[in-house]
Symmetry: C3
Subunit: 210 residues, 3 copies
Amino acid sequence: MTLLQLLDYAGVAVFAATGALAASRKQLDIIGFLFLGSITGIGGGTFRDLILGMPVFWVGNPAYVLVCVGIAVLVFFTAHLVESRYKLLLWLDAVGLSAYAVMGAAKGLDASGSPTVGIVMGVLTATFGGILRDLLAGEPSVLLRPEIYVTAALTGASAFTLLDFLHVPLSISALVAFATAFLVRGGALKFGWSFKTYKSRPGRRPEDIP
Amino acid sequence: MTLLQLLDYAGVAVFAATGALAASRKQLDIIGFLFLGSITGIGGGTFRDLILGMPVFWVGNPAYVLVCVGIAVLVFFTAHLVESRYKLLLWLDAVGLSAYAVMGAAKGLDASGSPTVGIVMGVLTATFGGILRDLLAGEPSVLLRPEIYVTAALTGASAFTLLDFLHVPLSISALVAFATAFLVRGGALKFGWSFKTYKSRPGRRPEDIP
Amino acid sequence: MTLLQLLDYAGVAVFAATGALAASRKQLDIIGFLFLGSITGIGGGTFRDLILGMPVFWVGNPAYVLVCVGIAVLVFFTAHLVESRYKLLLWLDAVGLSAYAVMGAAKGLDASGSPTVGIVMGVLTATFGGILRDLLAGEPSVLLRPEIYVTAALTGASAFTLLDFLHVPLSISALVAFATAFLVRGGALKFGWSFKTYKSRPGRRPEDIP
């Protein structure tokens, strides 16, 4: 198994765990764990493959679905042992984000040859699973949290694209880019890193606008 | 018209009716009925075809869209006659769920040969239309309701996959699997069947976590 | 550059601006502007190409993504100058809606030869970007606003399809259809045009239904 394949399975597994943790926060039944776990686990990659016009990865290799099922069952029986499921969810999401930023950029570059497409696919693939999970579980979206999130995916995807352009060997590029993304997102989670947000007034509710 | 084709049109029609009923609950205009009805009616199958890499069914055969339009107009003029539109919506959704669990599993098996993919496609196809409808109409998601929902789709898709594996003739497999899914979901609606949900504490709001 | 290509870039650019304005209303950081701007800008066309089974337009030509990036940066530095960002958002959305209703219908007709598919693709392409933006930004959906919205897309897509059927030259059909859609949506914004909505009672909350 190559490093990219390992990253791929790891991304699927940790995103599946975040989906199952969201199911546990919503007190769903075991099937709810399987459903949210699987959709979150395979969502980002499915989206990536559709956009790039490639066969969807888990249709050709259903082992990915079985990984999601196994992880969801594991979370169902162990989630009560965790003190803060939401913190665990955020940290696992950080791992998945980093893995998928690399995988998305690698597949995007491979399919199009364009660095722009590589970076965009890295960001979209890394963030899509979490967006889907939060939408389906009715959680507040990770996108709208104040600390850095999309930026971590952007950094990882850009790092991979740059190193690939410089002909650095694939496994080194992947490892360095994964670590970069994880450091950025991990720092944001640990230390609350954030950019200066847009300084102007917040939006009014539509019905308050004359 | 084969039994599978009939199930297909029936699934589209009843999902279109649930979308139009959601439009009526939100007091939209006739175009809102057409829009939500059509999207709910063709959403699940569109998603199924995209994932399996097949041509989207209604692009090749726009009659499906015309079915949605007809149903939406019918609901626009008759919905006020119904005592509880939401109950009717849930029961029609149960019919659509059962029809699409079978259709999704059949197309998934056909395209991939893998039972896992058949089952997953059955579940995704059956649940996607309802998820989309609830998201667009701002209704609470059927997914997060306490009684059994995804399980019914899973049962129907698994039953079809098993019977197909045992070389039972297609029309019998389809009929038995449809009935199985509908009995499970109908029982849940009628008698409030539910699994024991996850027993631990519910999730805190993100801002309450120290 | 043909008129259709111009409409295409214009649609991407103005939808990107509405995404960035939504980011400013939510006080996101610069990356949030880039992300929401890009997704809103390329969302509708991505969806159109996936459904029609065509290569996704920006994967083959990443210049579209760079347009979104440029527009998002521009909005980041100028949005505070605007008195009502939400009104500007709605008017730009009207331009994008009109451009995409034409582009969607043109590509849909081209790919399928069916007027029904042309009209449906016009409506879906025109409305998808705004739906996505509102979902991701947590804004109330434009779909559920009382004034005419989907109808404007439907009018533009139908006008284009009709003129194309009558063998009117492409650039005239496109211009007339764009203007028609914009007049309908602009009139709705300016004068509050709306259809009589569904006259019956609004839906109860699910938990209030006996």
